[in-house]
């Protein structure tokens, strides 16, 4: 591997040659050496190789001195020259090495692998803390607590990397730590340049984390991980030396960014406003020289956390589920239920209460605040707004809302898609906004809150909205709908979730490849949720995502079909009713339809679908549930409704993998198993080859 570039290599060879002849060569040799060293110095300076620069300068100076004497070198001087030259060569190679910043991870045992994995996980946590902190600093550069937090994050990083012998990471983290330390000591002002440096540092560290993760998961565990850090470290160092490079510095005591920024330059503010807290106004900030008592949510204090293997957690939750079932079997047992003792019934009530509390607690172990996902959005909005010269404020509300860890993680991707859409297509450019009488600064609000036993996540922007007429035209053009499509505004807007739909005028690298919203809907429905869109043209667009609290429990409707019972997720049920004969009609070749308030909805009989014999022959004897099946309404005919209850979802195992109609099973209060139906799969027509579409969990 060529560590040095060609010209440096050539120079080094020249110098080595001259060194060999310097004793006999006399003055001309010294002159040649001086000139070579001068070139080397220039290269070193251009590439920011500090040490080499310094050494070549020293050596050059010393040689000039010798040369001016006009005599040849004696043996002692020659030795000194060689002694001085060696460190220079070393420094050149060493610094070139850092430029490459490659390292291989050294795995001696399984423990090392685990340590590295741990380091990556922790590192990612730290990096999101850093990102979050930086966004706070952008608003309030002097916020001491945040400064300390970011500093500590880099410090922890350095420690971990040092312990694992990951030198390039350690170096970078060390430099970033110094940067933050300088800011802590008030010897450096956090301006935009510094913020960008910190963010770039965080990104580079993240690349390292990704590289390590990729390597420890791959077969070739000795592949070097190379992430360039050299240039960044140089920038950090020069900033520390009070020379921030080509980036303009803002005046030290200036907290007001907007005033100093030229009108055509994009201003990005991403304040993290609390629900009841207005965005802090500028004068107020100036009036408060002391660090404010945390006006914005900080990354949570991690000291009181215990890391637990998720398998252990799942086992615990399973056992608690068992306990609850066993409890209800005892309580409902005829012998126990027949007892008249008041004391017994009191004890049983106590038992039930403890079991219920235990279950709730066990479930909450899997729950994490949605904050981490929202934090990612902050950064995304900042970067996208920056790159598109738009001014956007992101307001997040309800970050403390807790959701199943798996959902929180899986939610990031669809949310990124939607925010990209909002920024790309929704929010107009500042000039355009002002022309429309809006404030130049666009606003995106994301909010999480509890609703109807689930979670509602709302993403609202005050951009140009979605024009139903354009959606309709586009859908026709793309052949998504027939020409006789006659839906209301809401139904028209919902067409944006159809595959192959995109209203983007131009394809950008951000969004608009026409895969956006149907992917979003797919991700949401995999989480057993659903998504809705509302829009006022010229004013706003709101996406509402309804999600269950957890993937482990669903709110289910227990229905009977034949002599069996099944569970249908309540979230996908829109309504249920007892049909009258007049509501039903049979369409030749297309099965039965049910007429619900003028809407013709295709109907599926659960008994027929599942090939259960003893179901009702006459549909009007049963109950029809309108379910949301793959985005479309379908009528599902069942015999009767039994009850609505929360059930713990259990995977059905490999043996049932080929069966697409069930998404899992649940153990009912009587200890027997009931199968959970997958509404999406129910709506699909039976293909000869069943798709493997079971989402087992």
């Amino acid at each position: 591997m060529a560590l040095l570039d060609e010209s440096t290599e050539e120079l080094l060879q020249e110098i080595a040659l001259e060194l060999a002849f310097v004793q006999s060569g006399g003055q001309s040799s010294i002159a040649a050496l001086i000139s070579s060293l001068g070139k080397l110095k220039q290269i070193a300076a251009a590439q920011g190789r500090e040490k080499a620069l310094q050494l070549s300068e020293e050596l050059g100076g010393w040689l000039v001195e010798l040369g001016s004497r006009g005599t040849a070198l004696d043996a002692g001087e020659l030795e000194t020259l060689q002694q001085k030259y060696q460190p220079l060569e070393k420094a050149l190679y060493a610094e070139a090495n850092i430029t490459e910043a490659g390292f291989t991870i050294n795995l001696e045992s399984q423990d090392d692998l685990e340590l590295l994995n741990e380091f990556c996980n922790e590192g990612k946590d730290l990096l999101s803390q850093v990102e979050q902190g930086v966004l706070v600093l952008e608003e309030d550069p002097a916020h001491r607590e945040t400064l300390n937090q970011v500093f500590r994050a880099f410090h922890t990083f350095k420690g971990g990397a040092g312990f694992l012998g990951l030198e390039p990471i350690k170096d970078l983290a060390h430099n970033l730590e110094s940067l933050l330390d300088a800011a802590r000591q008030n010897s450096l002002v956090i301006d935009r340049h510094v913020i960008n440096l910190i963010l770039a540092g965080g990104d580079t560290l993240r690349k390292f984390m990704d590289g390590i993760e990729q390597t420890i998961r791959s077969d070739n565990k000795t592949a070097p991980i190379i992430v360039p850090t050299r240039e960044l470290i140089e920038r950090v160092r020069s900033t520390l030396d009070g020379n921030p490079g080509e980036v303009t510095v803002e005046k030290p005591n200036e907290t007001s960014v907007p005033a100093s920024v030229p009108a055509d330059e994009a201003k990005i503010t991403v304040p993290i406003a609390k629900i009841n807290k207005p965005i802090p106004t500028l004068p107020k900030e100036i009036e408060e020289p002391q660090p404010k008592p945390s006006p914005k949510p900080k990354a949570t204090n991690l000291s009181n956390f215990v890391k637990i293997d998720t398998q252990k957690l799942d086992a615990l939750i399973d056992l608690v589920g068992e306990l609850v079932i066993a409890k209800s079997m005892v309580v409902e047992h005829p012998v126990v239920a027949g007892q008249q003792s008041e004391e017994l019934s009191r004890e049983l009530r106590q038992l039930s209460r403890i079991a219920a509390d235990l279950q709730r607690n066990a479930m909450s172990l899997r729950m994490v605040p949605i904050r981490t996902t929202f934090q990612k959005m902050n950064r995304l909005v900042r970067d996208l707004a920056n790159s598109q010269n738009k001014q956007i404020t992101l307001v997040t509300k309800g970050e403390d809302t807790e959701l199943d860890r798996n959902i929180v993680e899986a939610l990031a991707e669809p949310m990124i898609h939607m925010l990209r859409n909002s920024i790309d297509h929704g929010i107009e450019r500042p000039a355009e906004r002002e022309g429309l009488g809006k404030s130049a600064e666009g606003k995106i609000e994301i909010e999480a809150c509890h609703q109807a036993g689930g979670i509602l996540i709302r993403i609202e922007d005050d951009g140009r909205g979605i024009d139903p007429a354009r959606v309709l035209a586009k859908a026709r053009e793309r052949g998504i709908i027939d020409s006789d499509f006659n839906g209301n505004t809401h139904e028209i807007l919902s067409l944006i979730f159809e595959p192959g739909f995109s209203t983007a005028e131009t394809v950008t690298d951000v969004s608009g490849r026409g895969v956006g919203m149907d992917v979003v809907r797919g991700s949401i429905s995999r989480l057993r949720g659903r998504i809705d869109v509302q829009s006022v043209v010229g004013k706003s667009t709101t996406f509402s995502i309804y999600l269950p609290l957890t993937l482990a429990i669903i709110d289910g409707m227990l229905v009977g079909a034949g002599n069996q019972r099944f569970i249908i997720p309540t979230l996908s049920i829109q309504e249920s009713f007892k049909p009258t004969a007049g509501m039903l009609s049979t369409l030749k070749g297309r099965g039965q339809l049910v007429n619900l308030r003028g809407r013709l909805i295709p109907m599926i009989s659960l008994c027929e679908k599942l090939k259960i014999d003893n179901g009702p022959v006459d549909p009007s004897e049963g109950i029809i549930l309108i379910i949301n099946s793959g985005g479309q309404a379908k009528g599902l005919l069942v015999d009767h409704l039994i009850s609505k209850q929360e059930v713990v979802i259990k995977p059905m195992g490999d043996t049932l993998q080929s069966q697409p109609v069930y998404s899992g099973a649940a153990i009912m209060g009587d200890g027997r198993v009931a199968l959970i139906l997958d509404p999406d799969a129910l709506g699909r027509t039976d293909s000869p080859r069943p798709e493997s579409k079971t989402s087992s969990n």
Partner: protein
Amino acid sequence: MMSTSVITKAGEMAIDDIAVYNDLPEAGKYLNFQLGQERYSLAVAEVREIIRLCPITPVPRMPEHFLGVINLRGKIVPVIDLRQRLHLPSSEAKERACIIVVHHHTAASPDQLVGLQVDLVDEVVFIEQSAIEPVPDFCDTVDGKFIQAMAKYKDSVLAILSVAELLKDAGNLQTNTALAPEQDQ
């Protein structure tokens, strides 16, 4: 020591089923059970437990030999009617019927449990290596693959069944082995 080696062997068989035909099972403890008058055997290392017949929830649209699923202390365990799996006439005599819960090893999930419903469980016996013989040629061609070997025990002959073969594609409507289950965590 011995039991672990048997477990490993069972695991290998599930993945590499060719080995089933070539290798005779090793001497060891076997669980004898009956389907009608016929006597069968399973290596005890493959058996997790034996439970009494309990309410089975049918799973519509599954193959006929698939009786449904049961709740085994919180785990959902599929149950297969061994009579139907072996294409034997079904029996009405259920009073002594049991479910033998066996370990099922697949490449995707190393330890699944599957129940096999049998008419009657006899006893656990030790079978010597010398008593184990390859399956004779005259064995039924369809069901022959389920029988791993024959064993003489006292004055009767036992058919040692292969769990891996019994459960291979047992739950699939089509023989579709390419289905890799999505592993959620």
